[in-house]
Amino acid sequence: MERICFTRRMYTSPQCKKKRKTYGFTLVELIVGLCIFSLIGGIVGHWFFMQRSYQQKILEKSDAQQRIRRSCWKMIQELRTARTILSPRVNPDNSIHSDDKIFFKNFSGDIVCFYFVPKENLIRRCLIPNGPGSPVVDKNPIGEGFSQVAFTAQDIGNRLVGIYLEGNGAFGLESVYLMNE
């Protein structure tokens, strides 16, 4: 019959001593084990957490780069076939001139404007029709998540527009040459 040890005397008896050595862990072993486990767990957990935040950060940057590309593409498509740039134009001393909005006339005679809204960090498009009618702002923005936008008149003939976009650690540096100016 198995003997159960309740008291200190019973517990330290030869039978119980043997049993204690064979089964289970001492408190010290448990503490040491837990310490090692929590140390390794902490290191691994911290590493995973760091990796997760790094992945998140890098994905956000990738999204920002993609937004920059998409926005540039939309604006370039329309700017390329513009008739003339109304603003910004090069300075009187022939130096480049930048603005956070650009006005140009298309071949239908309409005036199109791309403008940066700093409070909402987005670029919107507005169309001022040639003839009767009020300006129409597109419901969907050209792009969002930008912290800085600059449209720059680059050459004396105002045929070249530089676009600089910045947002969420990503940058876009493009230019468009007006084919029809």
């Binding site: 890098i58 780069q65 009187p92 680059q154 040459y177």
Partner: protein
């Protein structure tokens, strides 16, 4: 019977754990590197496109060869394609170039990868005075200690 684990068992368990953990760890870093590479590559294609557009307004005779290792985008106060970059004032005094002082964040990004551009120009003559310049636009940068390159071609007629 003695309870516990033998050294062989521990070693086998550790080998299995390492075999599982190593690919998981490398998966994380590989994914991050791939995304970063695509960001940088996407940016470099934009740079090449910018140069190609600028070449349209550069006088034909002034399109010159720029040999490798090329011109750095940072710290060059004046070049025909990138500097000065912006100017929100109405005179030359407000011009800003890609320098630590003017555009620190952008400068940091470009300096980190050491973005440079070079041009390889070849003349093609048609005999009756008409010429075409074949311009190879080369964008180079350094990534994880490796030299990277993106190249595109444009053709500029003399007319």
């Amino acid at each position: 019977m003695k309870k516990g684990l033998s050294l062989t068992e521990i070693l086998i368990a550790m080998s299995i754990a390492i075999t599982i953990l190593v690919p998981v760890v490398s998966m994380f870093s590989t994914a991050g590197r791939t995304v970063q590479k695509s960001i940088v590559f996407s940016f470099s294609t934009g740079l090449a496109r910018r140069i190609s557009q600028h070449l349209m307004v550069v006088p034909f005779d002034e399109i010159q060869e720029i040999p490798l290792p090329g011109v750095s985008l940072c710290n060059s106060i004046e070049d025909p394609f990138f500097n000065p970059l912006i100017n929100f004032s109405t005179s030359k005094t407000g011009q800003e170039s890609i320098t630590q002082t003017d555009l620190p964040d952008f400068f940091k990004f470009l300096a980190l990868y050491d973005f440079r551009y070079a041009l390889s120009v070849s003349n093609v003559s048609f005999g009756d005075g008409d010429e075409i310049k074949s311009v190879a636009i080369i964008i180079t940068w350094r990534e994880n200690g490796k030299d990277m390159l993106y190249q595109t071609h444009v053709y500029i007629p003399s007319m």
